[in-house]
């Protein structure tokens, strides 16, 4: 059952990702991107990471993608404004290079898998609920990175505001 579910989800995610890359109109890209996100979130659930799955849907599928939609509507690009995409020859070149990377990664996976045994471990995950563990770690061991992350977000907010200001002609 789990195996079937995995393959179905994998295919859905990959396919929608392909559409994200290859469809021409930005609005379609965004919609398939949302589908990819949802597929990934489901995979997270399959991996017993329920909290991450929730965050994935709320942050990515919710906030980030809505942001993309807003920007697309804000720019309101006509068909003629869309950049002309490259020719098939260039497509082939890019795809080959990307695939080369993936193929080269496979031996790496092969060497990792035996070490980790390939079987899901419960480890400390079994001890308490997912959320409990994350919260505890985040506010003890990772307190400093957590605070730094909040600063990063603040900086992003300020930066966005500064960049998005109405430009005065000078």
């Amino acid at each position: 059952m789990e195996t079937i579910l995995f393959y179905v989800l994998a295919v859905v995610t990959l396919l929608s990702a392909v559409f994200v890359i290859f469809l021409r109109r930005p609005i379609h890209n965004v919609l398939f991107m949302i589908l990819t996100m949802i597929g990934l979130a489901t995979l997270f659930i399959l991996l017993h990471a329920e909290f991450i799955a929730m965050v994935q849907i709320i942050v990515y599928a919710g906030a980030v993608m809505v942001l993309f939609l807003f920007v697309i509507m804000l720019l309101n690009l006509e068909e003629i404004d869309l950049p002309r995409e490259p020719r098939p020859l260039r497509w082939g070149f890019g795809v080959i290079l990307s695939l080369a990377l993936v193929v080269m990664l496979f031996p790496v996976f092969k060497s990792i898998a035996p070490i980790i045994n390939g079987v899901a471990q419960n480890g400390d995950l079994a001890a308490a609920s997912n959320l409990d563990l994350i919260a505890k770690e985040l506010f003890t061991t990772y307190l400093l990175p957590f605070e730094i992350a909040s600063f990063l977000l603040l900086a992003a907010i300020i930066g966005t505001v500064v960049i998005g200001r109405k430009l005065t002609k000078s």
Partner: protein, 100 residues
């Protein structure tokens, strides 16, 4: 049975798609989306490792990646809007001021 390797391969394929998007597309917004895709691919492998190593740290790392991704998207889109306002295009091949 689904092993760690399955997830890693899936993650690698997603990552490759992201790279392809960055390399091939000329639409700035789509490139930003491709970047998001790459980050998600990495997240997937983090969560998979977390599951198969029985450790929570992978998931915590994913949270931080998400923070960075969110910040990056916000700033990136702001730049895209600003560039479009000023230059009337989102074709990155037309935005090559940093040239000799």
């Amino acid at each position: 049975m689904v092993t760690l390797e399955h997830y890693l391969v899936l993650s690698a394929l997603l990552f490759a798609l992201g790279i392809a998007g960055v390399m091939l597309r000329r639409n700035l917004i789509v490139i930003l989306m491709s970047l998001e895709l790459m980050m998600n691919a990495v997240n997937l492998s983090f969560v998979a490792f977390s599951r198969y190593l029985g450790s929570i740290e992978g998931q915590i790392f994913v949270l931080f990646v998400m923070v960075v991704a969110a910040a990056e998207v916000a700033v990136g889109l702001a730049i895209a809007v600003a560039v479009f306002k000023q230059r009337g295009t989102i074709n990155i091949n037309d935005i090559s001021l940093l040239k000799w």
